[in-house]
Symmetry: C2
Subunit: 159 residues, 2 copies
């Protein structure tokens, strides 16, 4: 697909059919994500892919913004301890979310080229990720908590 | 250009020739940026484009991470007051930088398709943007400060 067709055509989608997303397609999406730039080339991102319907339902219980019944959920995470080690305070509080977002945009465009609808969700239940603030604000455990949560409900990780 | 050619081919570039970037090309880059999704479709981003060499040199004095002599600088800003009004604390502290980053990734890919090298810079001198913390941490004036700084040194704004 042409770059501009993807940029112009992508929309946020909140209604999905139940056709499974093949593993090789999911892997291509992650490959697109990790071609994005990252501050100091830190690449502290981690991705957790969930495809098992029951586990996606579990995630929905802590993600009020996750509408519809997608066939796959990809949690875009950051290892904030590593981000701080690589980039200091700026790395932890700014580069980590910004790097994750640039990777996510690549992923969205690649998904559109695969014929998949996507929607970025930022509304996780704060209690469920074990912090009182999202993202990091003095509590660098956010991503680790989310990753633990996601791994508890994940059938597989393509990290 | 094919989407995957852009995703795979883009690199962070820190050495530039002095060929000017035409205004219609710059406008295409901004158009690519604003096709990105934003939390709650808030679109609180603003872009300041600087092409006058003397003004770019001024920006470099407060941007130690800005290496080389690019023909154009695009400051990706957020109106944090508006972001807070639209998305509360999450909007101000998380969605604003994340939305800006997704827009930036589109811009980088579109620039590559135009044959332009790019590099994302996050290292602004904190004093120059008038805060002791970057990005927002209780001081929502960061982006406004940066925008004022940029507009002082900008020959034109394509916001």
């Amino acid at each position: 697909m042409e770059l501009w067709e993807a940029i112009n055509g992508r929309r946020s989608v909140r209604a999905f059919n139940d056709r499974p997303v093949e593993r090789n397609v999911l892997e291509r999406l992650l490959e697109a994500a990790i071609w994005a730039p990252s501050g100091g080339n830190a690449q502290t991102w981690q991705f957790v892919v969930v495809t098992e319907p029951g586990r996606i339902r579990s995630i929905k219980t802590v993600s009020p913004g996750l509408l519809g019944d997608p066939a796959a959920v990809i949690a875009v995470c950051q290892d904030l301890t590593k981000a701080r080690a690589k980039g200091g305070s700026l790395g932890e509080t700014f580069l980590a979310p910004v790097d994750a977002a640039m990777a996510t945009e690549n992923l969205l465009l690649a998904a559109y080229a695969e014929g998949l609808g996507t929607c970025v969700i930022a509304s996780f239940h704060r209690g469920a990720v074990g912090t009182s603030s999202w993202p990091a604000r003095g509590d660098r455990a956010d991503a680790a908590h989310l990753r633990r949560l996601a791994s508890r409900v994940s059938s597989r990780s393509l990290t």
